[in-house]
Symmetry: C2
Subunit: 460 residues, 2 copies
Amino acid sequence: MAAERLVVVGGDAAGMSAASQARRMKGPAELEIVAFERGHFTSYSACGIPYWIGGQVAGPDALIARTPEEHRARGIDLRTRTEVVELDVAGQRVRARELDSGAESWTGYDRLVLATGARPVRPRLPGIGAHGVHGVQTLDDGRRLMDTLERREIRRAVVVGAGYIGVEMAEALVSRGYEVTVLHRGVQPMATLDPDMGALVHEAMNRMGIRTVAGAEVAKILTDEEGRAIAVATASGEEYPADVVVLGIGVEPRTALARAAGLPLGESGGILTDLSMRVRGHEDIWSGGDCVEVMDLVSGRTRHIPLGTHANKHGQVIGAGVGGGYATFPGVVGTAVSKVCDLEIARTGLRERDALAAGLRFVTATITSTNTAGYYPGATEMTVKMLAERRTGRLLGVQIVGGAGSAKRVDVAAVALTAGMTVDQVVSLDLGYAPPFSPVWDPVLVAARKAVTAVRSAGA
Amino acid sequence: MAAERLVVVGGDAAGMSAASQARRMKGPAELEIVAFERGHFTSYSACGIPYWIGGQVAGPDALIARTPEEHRARGIDLRTRTEVVELDVAGQRVRARELDSGAESWTGYDRLVLATGARPVRPRLPGIGAHGVHGVQTLDDGRRLMDTLERREIRRAVVVGAGYIGVEMAEALVSRGYEVTVLHRGVQPMATLDPDMGALVHEAMNRMGIRTVAGAEVAKILTDEEGRAIAVATASGEEYPADVVVLGIGVEPRTALARAAGLPLGESGGILTDLSMRVRGHEDIWSGGDCVEVMDLVSGRTRHIPLGTHANKHGQVIGAGVGGGYATFPGVVGTAVSKVCDLEIARTGLRERDALAAGLRFVTATITSTNTAGYYPGATEMTVKMLAERRTGRLLGVQIVGGAGSAKRVDVAAVALTAGMTVDQVVSLDLGYAPPFSPVWDPVLVAARKAVTAVRSAGA
């Protein structure tokens, strides 16, 4: 029997995890694996780019888990700088273009993995293509940004967007000694939090010397005669001088290929899969990583959550399936952690607006405690906001902002959400206690106690 | 209607939490509250004593959450330096002795809370009562130890026992510049971990300059002519010179009063209660804190787990019940966290010997990863050991030893244990990921992946 051929489109976390896992399960005599990647790099941590730019990580090599050569040595026919430009579902083949030569050819497949990732939102604004305007989605993006920072005299940086990428890039640029202004459309930075919690991030950023401008709608990038960005102008007429502009507006699933081929897409434009990460309605196509939508176990809806940790899990599940095994990805609860300098930021589950959109009635409870016993040296504040469903008391979401040890506390809530616990059950959880690690009542439990009272007061 | 009287025996976490919660629910016209405490202090953090001794906390005042005067101001008739010496269950009264005057009197109760705590195990050895031999169970103990450290010329300290207290006291004494030797009976320090994990603690302690002696059975304390401890001698004949000796051998429930009154005690000598913390078979007596046994939800047996965080929860539950409300304490999973210098130590659920004793067949999986992304500056090693039940794959326990951020990771496993999750379910948990906080696969998930494989390999 001739070997079957697996074609993987996209050489980062999901795609190469899938390819590697499939290779562990089936040798080259059984399964030929061909992988296409548009960029120069494979299997890297895009989430690490801000730390490279900020100087905490020496260079892009540190962010690469496995190079193209390493993949090839494991029997994967990896073709970098090669973009898949068409998917012929009926013919079970893809058309790929070598980006350097422009040569194109078709490759047939028995099984296909689409792991095309996400692309930064780049609004169609005058000057958006100017030199010195950078996204930070891929290692190639990071390298271009570093080129700019090293070649130009930089004093002022403007970051557009105040989500995870925007905030992390603001920290990175401040740590390089630049004057940093963050322009964002919302009321508060970190719209992944409710505004009352985002306000804490806002205050902390300002204390760190990062200027934040709320309600800022970017209208155009002003350029000099050599086509280099020199300022960002907003719709209301303000101009913010900039020697470099970083776009952290968010990303969207990169699904032009899937869309053209008629694959099912969700409300956010991500590919829809079943629980084994197989594209719905397609026996021979799997998809995972930043190009898919995942099931949100709390709201019961699919969402687009681009995150390396999900992509890696998807890759494992797909690799098992493609290799003839069995695994599933049951969904997410929407956990995300971040930091800006010493301030840790975390969320899981639903924000107020998510709960409303899901048709849920809820109460909220917000408390401020400390990350360690109050008397322990270095104790810092930690604020926890908790959402619980009215009547049932079911935990719906948690947001945390505070000092060291705050962010990963959200994992407790993530597990409790997955288990469908009520806030009453959360109060009784047996969490680790010792003075260097927690007050005698862990802040998450203090928030749960307050939520229990709020649920009771709200009645049925 | 005359006010009912609540009598509380023991003025630390459980007793005074119960009294305070009851007072919030019922005013003095409805409920008179009398509380007896043997020592000088109330509502303090005994867990903070090592940090006071080590100099990170200024003095005992910082460890006191609420003073006797503060309790009295809230309408609690608190009598310090007064010990309850007899409980007359049939007559619903207690006999109390004022320790300074020796005066005794009976006090009747309608409802009784026993929160007598635990006492350090003090083996009956020659010299155990010598000057310079100290337990560290109460603030009064801490004050006596500090007196010794300040009055004597200390160069060498011997700590007997290498559990939480022993290890924390070793760190405290090293940080005061003493030569510290820890004598313990086991194969490895931290017998609350399996020996393979305890070995990591052992290595770390030795790197910090703490000498550890395994298999050491203390036979006597040698004293000088003024009755001061000068050395510790073991059964095998070794002598360890000591200017101060700290006993950290563990504690046992302080239940002489309950035992004499015929209250039900468990295998470890702790008082047995129902889920509302009412003493089994007694409508008008509640008990909580370090003098009770709690239900271990993983093994299905009651255990004695003296820990401030449980005591506080018990107090809340008892206060609600005594005050006419309703609350329960469903049990524990055995979570404990600690540190020795920079090494964090944590456990939850069952160790190998616990699982065997509970009649469970299991597999183990041990992995070493890092606390942050491997490329993030300051990444340090973190070792996770996981136990899972054979056949079902149910999570049974987790032990963690490693750098910053290791200990509180165990909370994820504590919640998963409470929810009865399998290791397969743990692999899919949506835990917070960002390079400063975790590798893309959180170490707990990596251990779970390995445990899944081990469960499959073990078969039925």
